[in-house]
C-alpha cells in the first residue's frame, strides 16, 4: 500500500446496462462495485478477457459513461458529486484516454500538427503562434518522433507512429492520469516494446499515473507496478505485479496465466487442467483461506483475503463466484463441455 494520497480512489463503482428492447427489463451488470486506488506515478494494469468489464471501468472514469452507482475521488474531489452531469474541462484535461485503435482515433483529414494543436488551444495551454510551435515540437520530442511528421497525414504513418501521436496528444494538456485501453494490442511486434517503454518512461519522468488495460499478462508484468485481475465485472485478485504472478491464488488468474503461450510447455496447456480451472471459476467449491481467523465472508458481502501485505497481494474469496449475469466471457460459450474431443 502506498502511503501517498492516491490520485484516484474508486469506491464501489457500478455500471448496469439495459439489454433487449425498450420494454425489456433485461439488465447486464458490467461493473459490480469495484474499489481501486492509484498512487501518483503508479502504473496499475487491469487484466481480463473481452467482456470482463475493463473498458467499462475506464469509460466510466473518463466520464464517457455515467456510472450506475458508487463514487470516485480524483485528487481528493468527489467527481460524481461536484460535476454530476458532465465532466469539467479541468477534469478532462487531467484525465486522458488512449484508445486501442490508432487508425480509428486520428481523423484522416487532418495533419498530425492539428491533433496536437487542438488540445493545446482548447485548454489554453499556450498563447501565441511561436509558443504553440515550440509546444508541438516539444511534444514530438517527448514521444521520440521527428518534428517533420507534424506536416504529415495519419495514413502516411505506421501504426506505432500513430499510437505515439495519440500519446503526444494526451500529453499536450499535462494529464495526471492516463487511461490506456489496450494501447499495443493492434501494433506489430516490432514496435510494441517501444510503445511500452515510452509509456513507462513518461510515467517515471513526469509522475503521471496510468491505468493500463490489457488482456496480455506478459505486457502487464513488464509495465505495471500493480496488477488487478477482473472477471465478470468484479475484481478477483490484485497486488504487486511480480508477487501476484509468482503466486497466483484465484483459479481465474491461473487460467489467464495458462493461456499465455509458453515455449517451454510443448504441445499446449493440459486440457484437463484447463477444464478444472474453468469449472473452479464458475462453480467454486473451496477456498484455501477457509477456517482462518480473517475469513468472515458471506455471499452477500464477499471479502478479499490478504495473501500478504508486503508485497501487497489479495484475492477474492474462492467460495463465491461472481454473479453469472455478467456479459459473455469466453468461459460462458455454450460449448464449454467439449473440452478435449481427442481424448
Amino acid at each position: 500500500m502506498s502511503t501517498q494520497t492516491p490520485v484516484l480512489s474508486v469506491r464501489g463503482l457500478e455500471k448496469t446496462f439495459a439489454v433487449g428492447g425498450m420494454f425489456s427489463r433485461g439488465r447486464v451488470r458490467a461493473l459490480g462495485g469495484v474499489d481501486l486506488d492509484i498512487a501518483p506515478g503508479e502504473i496499475v494494469a487491469l487484466v481480463g478477457e473481452s467482456g470482463s468489464g475493463k473498458s467499462t471501468l475506464a469509460r466510466c472514469l473518463a466520464r464517457l459513461e455515467q456510472p450506475s452507482g458508487g463514487t470516485f475521488l480524483f485528487e481528493g474531489k468527489d467527481i460524481l458529486k461536484t460535476e454530476p452531469r458532465r465532466a469539467s474541462r479541468a477534469y478532462r484535461s487531467a484525465v486522458q484516454m488512449i484508445f486501442q485503435d490508432p487508425f480509428g482515433s486520428l481523423n484522416p483529414v487532418h495533419r498530425v500538427g492539428h491533433f496536437l494543436e487542438r488540445p493545446l488551444q482548447l485548454h489554453d495551454a499556450v498563447s501565441g503562434r511561436g509558443e504553440l510551435e515550440r509546444a508541438k515540437r516539444r511534444l514530438m520530442e517527448k514521444v521520440d518522433l521527428p518534428a517533420e511528421l507534424l506536416g504529415r497525414y495519419p495514413h502516411e504513418l505506421s501504426g506505432g507512429q500513430r499510437q505515439r501521436i495519440a500519446i503526444a496528444r494526451a500529453l499536450a494538456v499535462n494529464p495526471r492520469l492516463i487511461l490506456a485501453d489496450e494501447p499495443t494490442s493492434m501494433l506489430d511486434v516490432s514496435v510494441r516494446i517501444g510503445v511500452l517503454n515510452l509509456m513507462r518512461s513518461l510515467c517515471e519522468q513526469q509522475g503521471i499515473s496510468m491505468l493500463y488495460i490489457t488482456h496480455d499478462l506478459a505486457s502487464a508484468r513488464y509495465l505495471a507496478d500493480r496488477i488487478v485481475v477482473m472477471f465478470a465485472g468484479e475484481f478477483v485478485e490484485g497486488g504487486e505485479a511480480m508477487a501476484l504472478l509468482a503466486d497466483p491464488q484465484h483459479p481465474y488468474t491461473r487460467l489467464l496465466i495458462s493461456a499465455v503461450p509458453d515455449p517451454r510447455r510443448r504441445g499446449g496447456f493440459d486440457p484437463v487442467e484447463r477444464a478444472r480451472l474453468r469449472h473452479e471459476v464458475l462453480h467454486p467449491t473451496s477456498c484455501p483461506f477457509q477456517g482462518r481467523s480473517d475469513t468472515r465472508c458471506s455471499a452477500d458481502e464477499p471479502v478479499f483475503h490478504r495473501v500478504s501485505d508486503a508485497p501487497e497481494h489479495w484475492v477474492r474469496c474462492g467460495l463465491y463466484a461472481p454473479p453469472s449475469d455478467a456479459p459473455g466471457t469466453a468461459l460462458e460459450l455454450p460449448n464449454t463441455s467439449e473440452e478435449s474431443p481427442a481424448a
Partner: protein, 305 residues
C-alpha cells in the same frame, strides 16, 4: 523422410511499379512434410503473407512471381491454369485468414456458407450439403442450431472456429493459417490453438502457420523459419530455434514479447537499431539447422539487455 507435401524452391516475388520494383520475397526455399506443422515467423511486411498468397496463386498486380518453383505433391502449382487452380484451391490447400469477420459473408447464414462449399466443389444436393455442414460444426464443438445464425451473432472465437471448420471441409492435406488468433483474446486464443491441434491429430493435415508471436509458434510448430525483409535468416526445428537461436534477429524477435518468468529487465524493441542488409544464403550449422551468416559474427553486439 518421405517426399515432402509442399516444396518451395528459390521463390521470389516482386511488387513492380513504374517507379521501382520491390522484392518482397527473395529466393526462399523450404518444404513442408505430410502432417507437419511448419511455422513462418517475422514482423509485418517481412513477406510471410506474400508467400502464403503465392502458394495459392492469389497474388494480384502489381505482385509477380519473379522466379522459383512451388511443387505440391506431383503438381507444379505455378503452371496450373484457371480450371485446375479452382480444383487445387480448398481441396488441396485451404487458407484461414486473420480476420474471421472478413472471411465470412455477413448476409448469409453460417449453414448456407458451409453448404456452399459442398454444392460447389462436391456437386451434392443442398439437403446433403446442410447435413454435412452440421457434421462439420460438430467437429469444432459448435451446436447445430448455429447453422441458422449469421456471422454477427457469433462471438469472435466462434467465428474463427467456423472459419477453421470451413477450411477443413474438403479434407485438404495442407492448411495455411495466416495469424489465425491475432485478433482474439488470450484465453480464446489458447482454446482455438488446442482445437487446431486436436483437428490436426484427427484429420492429419499439414499446417503452414504464420504469425509474429514467437512463443505461440514455438509451442505449436515442428519446424520453423524466421524471415526478415523477404529472406529467411534461420530455419530449424522449433525447439532448436527456441533453445539455440543463432541469428541475432531470431533472438530479437523472441525478445520482442516480454517473458512471463525471470527478472524484469528493460527490453529493446525490434525497431531500435536492428537492421540487416544483403542477407546471404543460409548455411548449415547443425542437424537441420540453417542460418544466414551475419557480418563479423563474433563481434555481433548483444541484442537484448
Amino acid at each position: 523422410m518421405s517426399a515432402p507435401l509442399l516444396e518451395i524452391e528459390d521463390l521470389s516475388v516482386e511488387y513492380v511499379t513504374d517507379a521501382r520494383t520491390v522484392r518482397a520475397v527473395d529466393r526462399v526455399s523450404f518444404s513442408v512434410g505430410e502432417g507437419e506443422v511448419f511455422g513462418l515467423a517475422g514482423e509485418s511486411g517481412c513477406g510471410k503473407s506474400t508467400i502464403a498468397n503465392a502458394i495459392l496463386r492469389l497474388l494480384r498486380d502489381p505482385a509477380v512471381i519473379a522466379g522459383g518453383s512451388i511443387r505440391f505433391r506431383d503438381t507444379d502449382v505455378l503452371s496450373l491454369n484457371a480450371d485446375q487452380l479452382r480444383a487445387f484451391r480448398w481441396r488441396q490447400v485451404a487458407m484461414v485468414f486473420q480476420s474471421a469477420m472478413n472471411s465470412l459473408n455477413p448476409v448469409m447464414t453460417i449453414g448456407d456458407q458451409i453448404a456452399d462449399i459442398y454444392t460447389t466443389h462436391d456437386n451434392v444436393s443442398k439437403k446433403d450439403a446442410l447435413r454435412r455442414a452440421a457434421d462439420l460444426l460438430d467437429l469444432v464443438g459448435i451446436p447445430h442450431d448455429r447453422l441458422r445464425s449469421y456471422p454477427h451473432q457469433l462471438s469472435g472465437g466462434m467465428r474463427q472456429r467456423v472459419v477453421i471448420a470451413m477450411a477443413t471441409a474438403l479434407r485438404p492435406p495442407l492448411l495455411i493459417m495466416d495469424e489465425p488468433t491475432t485478433a482474439l483474446d488470450v484465453v480464446v486464443q489458447q482454446e482455438i490453438m488446442a482445437q487446431i491441434k486436436d483437428l490436426q491429430r484427427e484429420l492429419g493435415f499439414a499446417i503452414l502457420f504464420i504469425t509474429h508471436d514467437m512463443s505461440l509458434m514455438v509451442e505449436l510448430s515442428d519446424r520453423m523459419a524466421v524471415m526478415y525483409a523477404g529472406r529467411f535468416v534461420e530455419t530449424a526445428s522449433a525447439l532448436t530455434i527456441f533453445e539455440q537461436p543463432r541469428h541475432p534477429y531470431t533472438s530479437a524477435l523472441m525478445n520482442a514479447f516480454p517473458p512471463m518468468s525471470g527478472p524484469r529487465t528493460r527490453l529493446r524493441g525490434l525497431g531500435e537499431g536492428i537492421r540487416f542488409h544483403d542477407i546471404p544464403d543460409l548455411v548449415s550449422v547443425g542437424q537441420g539447422h540453417w542460418v544466414a551468416p551475419t557480418p563479423g559474427e563474433a563481434s555481433m553486439p548483444e541484442v537484448i539487455r
